[in-house]
């Protein structure tokens, strides 16, 4: 239940931030969203079984599911890389993406 509420709160915050004009806030919204989905991935494997999935003769009833953990690890790396790139895009070019006179494709050189 706690996990579900946390995911819900994170998604709500992410939705709010993603709808802002400022790219920096949008990036923060994307970060929150990826956190929410990572928690969702975690919870998909069940959260009650906590034993480490290492060694021989494990008991499936108490051992944690390693697959969602691998998923989350992959997802974190990907989201992190794209976030960095987005931050670079946020500081290059103009600050705001406002529609200017150059929207017909005749913009000046930046």
């Amino acid at each position: 239940m706690t996990l579900a509420l946390t995911v819900g709160a994170l998604v709500a915050g992410a939705a709010y931030l993603l709808l802002q004009r400022d790219l920096l806030r949008v990036v923060l919204g994307a970060v929150l969203l990826s956190h929410a989905v990572n928690l969702l991935l975690f919870s998909s494997g069940g959260v009650l079984r906590r034993d480490e999935p290492l060694g021989a003769d494990l008991d499936p009833a108490t051992t944690a599911d390693p697959l969602p953990q691998a998923f989350v690890l992959t997802a974190i790396v990907i989201a992190f890389a794209i976030t960095i790139y987005l931050l670079v895009l946020a500081v290059t070019g103009r600050r705001q993406d406002v529609a200017g006179p150059d929207d017909d494709g005749r913009e000046e050189d930046a």
Binding site: A30, L33, A75, I78, A81, G105, D109
Partner: protein, 538 residues
């Protein structure tokens, strides 16, 4: 063909990308490596088609683990066909990029190689989470390519386009990931073969996998989520636009076909959603194209419209419908890239793709005009080109399924497609036909920087022009130095577009062969038992 070569289709381009990054002076080596590997990739894909054309499925369990534990890579007729066309396009667009200047960027070769690895992986994988990973592998180099519109720096427009593109794709990938998480939560597996038919029995699974399908549909630019494509694609260099047009949305379309066929087993209950949404995509896309003022914006909106056509195949889910849809997908990839390349050649030479600015500058371009005309007529669906076969088979399939409203929409949209293509022909190719020489000189070129240069090379005698049409240097090419268009570089610019236009003629005249192959692929989607048993290893 030994299925154990499947991982090489992903691994070899990735390793080669690393090699291409090595600092070698001149950088010719990286370009040679790129073209060699793309050619080898095309040959491998053709070999895959040959191996799967009897309906067999090649499966490799990565790492040699037991089936069910390992990540499976599976190639059947559908993935082999899409991979072949994708490989052909990557080759043609890279050739164009090398001719137009984008390919001179040091990072171009490694990016395209990683992109190839991602596309191949996404087409081969039989695992939902792995599909997400390969789509990301495909997208990351794309972000780089998108912003590289110029020598080592992007333009303001390409940065803006990239912002939109990256934010959009990050959010949609996250939605896809959430769908994968929910699927794993309710079924305990992400292996496509293990999920076979799971969504037909259990609405909860249908909702979870449906979330993946929605995310894939957004990536395929289905209305109402199509605006990003029309805004982002025209903002980069012509070569990169052409490359993306053939790959990104098409991989998403392939995934929709695959997931719906395997996990939903073509469930009839959800098909009406597809019919409504994809018909809307056809109509909205073409109306958007009618209102645009730049060559590439017009073509980008046409892409949206055609994506509606392609996905209708999945929404019909009859043997005829699927065959038509797959044929349409392959034809569309070729034709769209050909259009982007022929207009890209014009844009590279004349420095703008705004229709009103091009009109006074255009001189005779018979070869490009022919290539563009063939591809445009093919896109609108006139015989004898492949578009006619694709549209006719799709319309017949829709009629057989009793979807009259869809047929009416498809035919009406075809007419508007032709109209807006004529707009391009009028602006770009017709003035030169009338005057037969350069238009009046416009030193300002409709731009603000006003640095006009003599864009006509000394060998332009055959154009019958005295030379001197001013061309602004505000081009999307990577060269800021004085450019002289020799006959050879002009030929290199036009060749990829002409080659792809020739392919659409061949596909139109010899449609039966490809229709048979598409039929095999459709059978594999209608009856997924071979796929499932091969992947699960039972």
């Amino acid at each position: 063909m030994n299925p154990d070569v499947l991982p090489l289709l992903v691994a070899v381009p990735l390793v080669a990308a690393g090699v291409a990054l090595l600092p070698v002076r001149g950088g010719t080596g990286a370009r040679v490596l790129l073209m060699t590997l793309l050619t080898a990739n095309l040959a491998a894909a053709v070999a895959l088609v040959a191996a799967t054309r009897d309906g067999s499925v090649l499966v490799h369990q990565v790492g040699g683990w037991d089936a069910g534990i390992a990540i499976p890579l599976a190639a059947d007729a559908l993935s082999a066909l899409v991979m072949t066309v994708a490989a052909l396009l990557t080759l043609a667009c890279s050739a164009f990029a090398l001719a137009s200047g984008t390919g001179r960027l040091r990072l171009f070769a490694p990016f395209v190689l990683v992109l190839t690895a991602g596309v191949n992986g996404a087409l081969l994988t039989a695992d939902l989470f792995n599909l997400f990973v390969f789509i990301e592998v495909m997208l990351l180099p794309s972000y780089g390519l998108l912003v590289l519109a110029r020598e080592r720096r992007g333009t303001e427009a390409s940065v803006r386009g990239s912002r939109l593109y990256v934010v959009f794709n990050l959010v949609v990938s996250t939605v896809l990931l959430a769908g994968v998480a929910l699927t794993y939560g309710v079924t305990g597996t992400v292996n496509l073969a293990a999920l076979a038919g799971a969504a037909t029995d259990d609405p909860v699974v249908a909702a979870a996998v449906g979330m993946c399908l929605v995310a894939l549909a957004m990536k395929a630019a289905v209305v109402p989520v199509h605006g990003w494509l029309a805004r982002a694609y025209p903002s980069t260099s012509p070569a990169v636009t052409a490359l993306f047009s053939g790959l990104h949305t098409k991989v998403a379309i392939y995934a929709i076909y695959r997931v719906y066929a395997v996990v939903f087993e073509g469930d009839q209950r959800y098909l009406w959603i597809g019919l409504v949404v994809f018909s809307a995509t056809m109509v909205v896309g073409v109306l958007g194209a009618a209102g645009e003022q730049r060559m590439r914006s017009v073509l980008a909106f046409h892409m949206v419209s055609q994506i509606g056509y392609i996905l209708l195949g999945v929404a019909l889910f009859t043997p005829a419908g699927l065959t038509a849809g797959i044929f349409y997908l392959l034809h569309h990839m070729v034709v769209k890239a050909s259009l982007f390349l022929s207009t890209g050649a014009i844009e590279t030479r004349y420095g703008t793709d705004v229709l009103d600015d091009l009109k006074p500058r255009m001189r005779r371009e018979p070869v490009l005009a022919a290539a563009f005309g063939v591809a445009a007529l093919s896109l609108a669906g006139l015989p004898p080109f492949s578009g006619f076969v694709a549209k006719l088979s799709l319309v017949l399939a829709a009629l057989a399924a009793g979807q009259v409203a869809v047929v009416v929409a498809a035919l009406a949209v075809s007419l508007v497609t032709l109209l807006s293509m004529l707009k391009l022909v009028n602006a770009v190719f017709a003035p030169a036909l009338v005057s037969g020489a350069a238009g009046p000189v416009r030193a300002d070129g409709g731009t603000t920087d006003g640095t006009a240069r003599d864009g006509t090379a000394g060998d332009d005698a055959r154009d019958g022009a005295a030379g001197g049409a001013a061309v602004a240097t505000r081009t999307a090419t990577a060269r800021t130095s004085e450019v002289t268009w020799t006959r050879r570089s002009r030929a290199a610019l036009a060749a990829p577009a002409v080659a792809l236009a020739a392919v659409t003629v061949v596909l139109g005249l010899g449609a039966q062969g490809l229709l048979d192959l598409a039929g095999v692929a459709a059978d594999g989607l209608l009856d997924t038992t071979t796929y499932v048993t091969e992947v699960t290893g039972r």
